[in-house]
Symmetry: C2
Subunit: 216 residues, 2 copies
DNA sequence: CCTGGCGGTTATAACCTCTAACGAACACAC
DNA sequence: GTGTGTTCGTTAGAGGTTATAACCGCCAGG
C-alpha cells in the first residue's frame, strides 16, 4: 500500500459530490447528447443553485473532459476484462457490448470532435493501452504473413510502427489490429448513429462477419 | 423547360440572402463545429441584428437541417460525378476527396447524431440514391459469389434486401457495397476525428489497401 | 476557543434562441 | 400617381446558458 493518508470527511464529501455530478451528467448526455449537457440543469436537479458546481469542476469543458476520460477508462477496463489472452473475437464482442450499452459514451470517445478540442495526455495514454491489448490479441490470432494484396500495407506498417509503442507484433498483426479497429468502428458508428435503421438488415450479422473475417 | 415563372426581385433577394446565411454558417461550422453555430453571430457578421434571420429560417434547427440536406446533396453529386459506370475504386477516391475537403461537412452526414433529431424524408431519399450508385458500382466490380466465410452474411443479405430498393445486385454485390460503406467510413471517420494523428502512419495507405481489397 | 478555508448563496455580465410589436420600404393594383 | 398590403428589418424582452464576483455561514484544525 502507498502512504494513503486517511481521507478527511471533507475530501470524502467532495469526491462523493463530484461523482454525483458526473452521474447526473451521464444521464443528461444519454438523453440529449453531449452538446445538451447543462451545468445549470444538473445543479437544479441536485437541489443547489448553478454556480455551486464550479466548486467541483472548473467549468463545462472540464466536466466533459472528465467524462471522456472516464469513458476511455471504461473502454480500457472492458477490453482488459475480456483478456488477457483474449483473441480478437472476444475483444470484438466485448467492444460491441460496451458500445451498445451506452451509445453516447461511445460517441464521447469516437464521435465527432469539437474542432478546437485537444485530448489531455492521460487520455492518449489510455488509448495506447487499449491499442496494446489489441495488438496482443492480433498477434496471437491469425497468420504471421499477409496475402499478396496486403503486401504494400504491411510494408508501410513495418516502416511506420511507432504507434505500436515498441510492441513486437508482426506487420500482419499490426494490420489486423488496425483493421479490427477501423472496420468494427465503421459498423458500430453507423449502427449507433441509426444509419442502418429502416434498411431491414441486422448490423450484428455484418459485425460478426467482419469479425470472423478478421480472425480467419 | 418547366413553366419557371420569372423570379421576382424579392424572391431573388430572398434566395441570395438565404444562401449567404448558409455560407456564413458553413464557415462557423468549419471552425467551431455544428454545436458552435450561432444565429446571432451570423447576423452580426452580416451587419444585421439577431432576429432578422428568422425571416429566412424558422430557427437554428431548420438552418442545420438545411445544411445537412446540402451536405447530402453535395455527397450525392460527388459520387454521381464519378460515374456513371464508375467502379468502387473511383467511388472510393471521390468519397475520400469529398470527406477531406470539408471534415465538418462529412460529420454533418455521418457524425454523432443528436438523440432527438430525425432526418427529414428527402434526406433519406438522397441517401438511398447514393446507395443505388454504390450498388451499381459494386455489381460491376467484383465476383458474383462470395468466399466460404462470407456465405452466412450473403445469405442474410439475400433475405433482407429491402434497403437495396429493388436493385438487382447479387448478394455478393450487396455485401461489397455495404462493406465499402462501413470500412471506408471507419477509416475516414477516425482520420477526420484525428485518431491517427501522432500514430505516425498514413491513413491513405490504409484506405487504399481497403479499397484494393474491396475491388479485388 | 477562534480563525481560516471551504461550500453554498445571490447578483451580475455576457452570451444564446426565439417571440412580439413596431416602423419603413417596397411591389403591385387601381 | 396614389393607395394598400406584404415583407424586411428594427428594438424590446422573456428565458435559457456559462461563468465570475462578492458575500455569508459553517466546519475543522491549531
Amino acid at each position: 500500500m502507498a502512504v494513503a493518508r486517511k481521507e478527511t470527511p471533507r475530501e470524502r464529501y467532495r469526491a462523493q459530490l463530484r461523482a454525483e455530478i458526473k452521474e447526473r451528467a451521464w444521464e443528461q448526455i444519454a438523453t440529449a447528447g453531449a452538446p445538451g449537457l447543462s451545468l445549470n440543469a444538473i445543479a437544479k436537479q441536485m437541489g443547489m443553485s448553478g454556480p455551486a458546481l464550479y466548486r467541483y469542476f472548473a467549468g463545462r469543458d472540464e466536466l466533459i473532459t472528465e467524462l471522456i476520460r472516464d469513458a476511455y477508462r471504461s473502454l480500457a477496463d472492458t477490453v482488459r476484462a475480456a483478456g488477457p489472452g483474449a483473441d480478437l473475437s472476444e475483444l470484438g464482442r466485448a467492444l460491441r457490448g460496451w458500445a451498445l450499452d451506452d451509445p453516447q459514451r461511445y460517441f464521447l470517445v469516437y464521435g465527432t470532435p469539437v474542432p478546437g478540442y485537444h485530448a489531455p495526455d492521460d487520455v492518449t495514454e489510455i488509448a495506447s493501452q487499449i491499442m496494446e491489448i489489441l495488438l496482443d490479441a492480433a498477434q496471437s490470432t491469425g497468420p504471421a504473413a499477409g496475402a499478396p494484396d496486403e503486401e504494400r500495407l504491411d510494408a508501410h506498417l513495418a516502416e511506420n510502427r511507432q504507434w505500436a509503442a515498441g510492441h513486437s507484433a508482426s506487420p500482419a498483426a499490426l494490420r489486423r489490429a488496425l483493421l479490427f479497429w477501423t472496420r468494427l468502428h465503421g459498423i458500430l458508428s453507423l449502427e449507433l448513429a441509426g444509419h442502418f435503421t429502416g434498411m431491414g438488415l441486422d448490423p450484428m450479422e455484418l459485425y460478426d462477419s467482419e469479425l470472423q473475417h478478421l480472425t480467419r
